[in-house]
Each structure stands twice: as C-alpha cells, then as structure tokens.
Symmetry: C2
Amino acid sequence: MATTPQFRRIDLAPAYQKVADAIEREIINGRIKPGEPIGTEQQLVEQFGVNRSTVREGIRVLEEGGLIRRDSSRRLQACLPRYNKLATRLSRALILHEVTFRELFETSMTLEVASVEGAVERATEENVAELADNVERSADVVGNPAGLAELDAEFHVLVAKASQNRVLQLAREPAAQLFFPTTEMIVGGVPEGGARLVEAHRRILDAIRRRDKEAGVLWTRRHLQDWRRGFEKIASLDRSVEHTYMEHAYAARQ
Amino acid sequence: MATTPQFRRIDLAPAYQKVADAIEREIINGRIKPGEPIGTEQQLVEQFGVNRSTVREGIRVLEEGGLIRRDSSRRLQACLPRYNKLATRLSRALILHEVTFRELFETSMTLEVASVEGAVERATEENVAELADNVERSADVVGNPAGLAELDAEFHVLVAKASQNRVLQLAREPAAQLFFPTTEMIVGGVPEGGARLVEAHRRILDAIRRRDKEAGVLWTRRHLQDWRRGFEKIASLDRSVEHTYMEHAYAARQ
DNA sequence: CTTATCGGTTTGTCCGACAAAGCTAGATTT
DNA sequence: AAATCTAGCTTTGTCGGACAAACCGATAAG
C-alpha cells in the first residue's frame, strides 16, 4: 500500500463554480470586506483567465447566495448576507416540503418564548423605545387587520432584536415569515381579536421593561395560544401551509 | 390628477432574472413537481426566446437557490430545496455577522431541548432504532474525537428528526452546523469527555424510549452544559465564532 | 451476455459583437 | 466662476455562433 502512488482527488468543478468559490473565499476570510468593490467583469476575466460568460455565471451564483450585490450603478461589491433574503428562501423550502401549521406553531412557540426571555434579560432602552413605538402605532390601527398584522410581525422582530441574540433572530425568521401572514385572517375573523393582540403586546412590553421574565413568557404564550384558537376557527392546524394559503388567496379573490 | 394617464410600472428586471422567476413560479405552484425534468438548455432558449447565455445565468440562480439541480447526467430537474444546503448559507451568514458562541449556545439550548421534547412525544420505532444504532457506533469510537464529533452531530439531527417537526429541524440546522464542529476540540481536550458524551446520548435515547420528557430535557441540558464547560476551558464564549475557528485552524496547523 | 464502438445530444467554455445605461471630463452657458 | 450640457469612454446585459468533452443510446464484436 505504501508504495502505491497517491493521487489527489481530481478537481472537476466547472470553471464558473471555481470563480464563485474563489471570490467567496476572499470575502469569507475577510480579504474583501463588505461594501468593498469586487471589480468589473472585465477585470475578473483577466484575473481568472476565463471568458466573461463564465465569470457572469459565477457572479450569478454569488449574487443569489447573498455574498455580493450590485450597487446603485450596478458595480459589484461584497455585502453581508441579509438574513431576510435567506429566510425567504427557507420559507419557500418549508412550503415546498408541505409543513403544517402545527409544526410552525410549535416551533414558533419555542422561539418566541426564547426571544422574550432574552429580551427581558438584555433589552436596551432603545429596544424598549422601539417596542413602545410599535405598540402605540398598533393601538391606532386596531380596527385595521392588514395594518395590525404588519405591526404584529414587526413587534416580534423587535422582541427578537431586543434579545441581542442574532442566531435566535435568524432562527425564528423563516417560521415567522410563514406564521404571521395568517394574523390578518385571524384578527379579521375574530371579534375583539385586534384588541386582545394589542393588549398582549402591551403586557409583553411591560414585562420586558420590568425585567419580569415570568410575565413575559406567560403573555407570549397567551398571545400565541390566542393565535392558535383563532386559526383553528378558520382552518386546520394539520393541513399544509401551502394549501391553506392557496385557499385563502382563492377565497379573497372571489 | 385624474386625467393623468396611469402607466404600469415598467418591468426592468434583466432577462436572466425573468427566466429564473418564470421557472421558479412553475415549481412553486406545483406545475413542475420535484424530480421532473425542466428541459434542456436549448429547449429553454426556444421557449423563452432568449440567448443560451441568458438561460444559463437564470439556471445558475435557481441552482444556487436550491430549486433545481442537475441529475447524474447533468440534465436539469426540479427538486425539493435541501435544508442542508440552505442551512450552510445561513451558517456562513452567521460567521460573517461575527456571532459569538454565547449566542450560538443559548439558541442551541432552546432548540435542542425543543427537539428532544418533540422526540419524546412523537418518536417512531424507526427513529429510536436509528438513534440506538448511532449510540452503539458512538460507543465504539469513544476514543476518537473526530469520529465521535461526527456521530454527535448525527445524533442531534436524529433527535430533531424524531420530533417529526420539519420546521424545528430546519431552524436548528444553521446553529448546529456552527456549534458541533467544536465538539471535536472539546472531546479531545477534556479527559472522560467522550465517555460523558456517550453516556448523555444513552440517557437521552432512554428517555425518548420511555417517553419521559423530564429526563430527556434534563440530560439534554446536562449534555449541552458539558459542552459549554469544555468550551470555556479552551476559548471564550464571547468571542466571535469566526475568530475562534481561525485560531483553532491555525493551532492545528502548527 | 458482456464489451467495444460510433453517432447524436447536451453541457461547459470561448470568442466577438452591440445597444443601453452610467460615468467622466471637457465644452458651453449663465 | 459656478452650474449645466454634451460627447466619449466604460460597463453591463444580451446576442449569435462555435467547439471540445462528456453523456446517451444503439449497434457491432467478442
């Protein structure tokens, strides 16, 4: 065995992939910082010694991966991947996998409770101010389901932000993106739903202010249970997210 | 104002993006099912009436987004986005955002506990058999940090799978991908670390078997606390994941 | 029945080209 | 002199065509 010559695994990745990988490496290990330019396509052609079409295919890969973007004048520059864009992809994946609202609800319960726990522990004054502003605006649109749903989503993003835990912020995002669009249906379908929602937000904010973890968790649970009760009035928890949305979109179009 | 003609917002998305969007729509709303072929590049050229280079750029976008892949013979086909690939992108994003191990640990604690709770409730016999197999193999390599680290990662994936909650499986993946590579360092650095790890896994499996949620949660917490204690012996929880890995890689190369 | 061979496809890459949009710097106007 | 305009250069997005290598399917040879 020892005398058998060892060959390195032959590299058969297509050129566009290697271009993408090479640029990715430079960004990942910090030699190109977010915001810095990557160079023009022509420059990349010269540096890599491949055709422009090949470079462009590599660029498309990185662009979709969120590692580079084009600035106002369409020049390439490195950027910090936005959670939101990636989260959208994940949400889409969840839909295609036909996950149910029960799975969504269970996971969101876990993550929202964790968020509020973190927020109670570590929210800054600025976080509290943002939340207070949100709650105030919510109270103004309590009769408007669409507006309230949007502010509800924002409220929970702000709570996660207040937890100062970016991993948690990221982890909750895909589920939240699928979860919260239903808020509009529910608030619209349940009398007093809007008022209950704002009340819960107010209590949660208050708990964060007072650093009262127990109250924060309690009201977060109630808030989500409210959602669940409302949801079960209009659809089944065990149907897939996709089907439920399709039907709702269909019903709305009638 | 009323007399001013209203123009529809002119569509200025580049052609490759439109190609990608068009194919994506077909997949999302189920007209092309996972596994079905998309057609050859030439066919797409004819259908969309654009150049092959343009089609190829669109394909790269979808490929990176995980919506299509090339089968063994490099023909295009729709596919279910793999969590793993998307999770890798997210992990990379987390690194670039310089998250700390404290954030990672806190979130993983939440998600792993939720996973084990779900597993205790809903694990099938097949899930249990997979876990048992994993634990057995772990016992065999208890002295081999690299092998044990790999099986540890697998164990936690299997627990999440046993929870029957795909949203949870997905949510834990990005953090896990960053979290578990450290297991090797820790097991290697702490005497009896390997044995403790296997013991914890055995207890968790046992709890799942007996549907004993309290024990499952307890041992999962202990298991992660063990990780944390081990980690703090070799690095600080408050440093960024990136820096810690860089240093470890550097030290390993010496 | 397996293996070898041979076209026809398909992908990956390259070359060259051009219109549209952006940028730059010199020319023009106020 | 400052602001504006304009013409030219650059860069991107798209196109057409080309070719080698890999792959597929079917046929021929062992």
